[in-house]
């Protein structure tokens, strides 16, 4: 088993200004999806990220406010999942609710130190 990182970009529906009802429905889909991964033992860990932040460069001489990229590309959270290989990890991401609002999942293998 290897570990893979899901990096969620955009897809939070901010640009369409969802109604409270839509937000609730969308949240429930995420909950159901993550619960599913959890129950199958795929899910390792993960956390959401707030939209506010700073970008620090040049030893702190250059500090700018987030967001860090165009709206659609802001990283909104990440998950770490267990999978046999990249293909399987990619497959697990296909049901992710992020696609409802045209977000993307970047799937990356976490480099292992084991020999």
């Amino acid at each position: 088993m290897k570990k893979y990182l899901y990096l969620f970009r955009g897809g939070d529906g901010r640009n369409v200004n969802q109604s409270p009802q839509q937000m609730q429905e969308h949240m429930e889909k995420w909950g159901v999806w993550m619960n599913g991964l959890n129950e199958k033992g795929i899910l390792d860990s993960g956390l959401p990220l707030a939209n506010e932040g700073k970008v620090v460069a040049k030893k702190g001489q250059d500090i700018t406010d987030g967001p860090f990229a165009e709206g659609a590309e802001i990283v909104g959270g990440y998950l770490i999942v267990n999978a046999k290989n990249l293909e399987e990890a990619t497959n697990f991401s296909k049901e992710c609710p992020i696609f409802e609002y045209e977000g993307t999942v970047e799937v990356r293998e976490i480099s292992s130190m084991e020999m």
């Binding site: 109604s19 409270p20 937000m23 609730q24 995420w30 909950g31 159901v32 959401p48 707030a50």
Partner: protein
């Protein structure tokens, strides 16, 4: 990772919390901050949507939403203050201790009275209630009223403007003011329900939500002892009685099903139960309100075991009484529909002819008259009135119904419309 417990989140939870939180913040910060408050709560729900699935639903989700909205609002006010460089007392409040108002229900109730204040136009009251108390979005309001989004946005802006001009502080009416203010609240609820209940080719889901919201508003009122009046009981009973038939009014293909052809066993038993319950509570009054009479009419519709056993004599007396205290064209037509059951087609046609001038623009009048004429075998005239009705009707479900009727009168000869 903790499991996200979907069971903890009730249907329409975000809508409800939106309304409650807007009420609490508006009560605290004043109505001139309306848009900022709305944005802050919207933002808090957005944050909930983004973070809760990763962790879990907080133990006290209401408190979480309130605190997050509050912080968001303070943050915005501070930014504004910095921009305007003048001090605003409210925005200088410390953020350390954020206490949720003890009586959330009271805050919500204050909003009901604010949105339905008699100083505000009825239409605006409905829109404000849906947006601010019900947590409906502009898009949902547009869908509910079958208008385009731009028009809904403008309507909402006008309503907000009126709200801010006329409502300075949210407050519960004193006993003394109650008599003057409660009827307006009831009327807004009544209109909201009817808007949702109208058979339409629009979005049935949102229409149902509108009815649900009207019922919810009336149930907020009932919690308060001094508001639990006979009129309110009657209104709730009326709503429940009609809501019980909601899903039976159209068939699977979206065709209109008249009451005569509805499957009574499919009426929603839960709504029926509440309808009867509140109706029995509303019956003690000496002076009968229009809501009571309308509820009583629905009572006789719903309590009959079959369409053929409806007590038309009781209905007729109620319609006559209703016309006296609340005369209306549609009310009179419904009276005539009942009158027809008792007196027959010939006498009804006479009555219809007498009533003619004020009914010319009403498609129900022409539809009903066509039915009477058909019964009297005056088919050419019946067709004429169906055509008139078709020209006036706005709603596609009813239009379809009229076309089918016209088709059945004309036999199988194809008709061009």
């Amino acid at each position: 990772m903790p499991n996200f417990d979907t069971q903890k989140i009730l249907d329409h939870y975000f809508r409800r919390e939106y309304g409650k939180t807007v009420a609490m913040l508006l009560s605290r910060f004043g109505s001139d901050k309306l848009e900022l408050v709305e944005d802050a709560v919207q933002e808090a729900l957005f944050k909930a949507m983004k973070s809760w699935p990763y962790q879990k639903v907080p133990d006290k989700p209401e408190a979480w939403i309130y605190r997050t909205s509050y912080n968001q609002l303070i943050d915005t006010l501070r930014k504004e203050e910095r921009r305007n460089k003048h001090t605003d007392k409210s925005s200088s409040e410390p953020t350390g201790e954020i206490k949720i108002p003890d009586l959330i229900e009271d805050e919500e109730l204050k909003m009901v009275f604010a949105c339905c204040n008699p100083l505000i136009k009825e239409k605006n009251s409905i829109i404000l209630s849906l947006k601010l108390i019900g947590g409906f979005s502009v898009t949902e309001i547009a869908r509910a009223f079958m208008m385009n989004e731009e028009a809904a946005k403008k309507a909402l802006q006008r309503a907000r403007k009126e709200f801010k001009e006329k409502i300075k502080n949210l407050a519960l009416p004193t006993d003394f003011q109650l008599k003057e203010k409660l009827p307006r609240v009831l009327k807004v609820i009544y209109l909201m329900f009817n808007e949702g209940y109208k058979a339409s080719d629009g979005d049935e889901l949102i229409k149902e939500d509108l009815c649900g919201e009207a019922l919810r508003l009336s149930l907020i009122l009932i919690e308060k002892e001094e508001l639990a009046t006979d009129s309110l009981y009657a209104l709730i009973s009326l709503i429940c009685f009609k809501a019980a038939r909601f899903e039976c009014r159209t068939d699977m293909e979206g065709n209109l099903v008249t009451m005569e052809n509805q499957d009574r066993s499919k009426y929603n038993s839960e709504y029926l139960k509440w309808g009867f319950f509140y109706f029995s509570k509303a019956g003690s009054q000496s002076k009968r309100s229009a809501y009571f009479l309308e509820a009583a009419i629905e009572y006789y519709y719903n309590s009959a075991t079959a369409y053929s056993s409806i007590r038309w004599d009781k209905q007729l007396a109620l319609h006559i009484e209703l016309q006296k205290i609340k005369p209306s064209v549609n009310g009179y037509l419904h009276f005539l529909i009942v009158y027809h059951k008792i007196e027959g087609a010939t006498k009804t046609l006479e009555a219809l002819k007498k009533a003619q001038p004020q009914f010319q623009e009403n498609h129900l009048y022409h539809t009903f008259k066509a039915e009477i004429l058909q019964e009297l075998n005056e088919l050419a005239k019946a067709k004429e009135h169906l055509h008139l009705a078709l020209n006036l009707v706005k709603n596609n479900i009813e239009r379809k119904y009229l076309r089918q009727k016209l088709h059945s009168i004309s036999g199988n000869n194809s008709i061009s419309l």
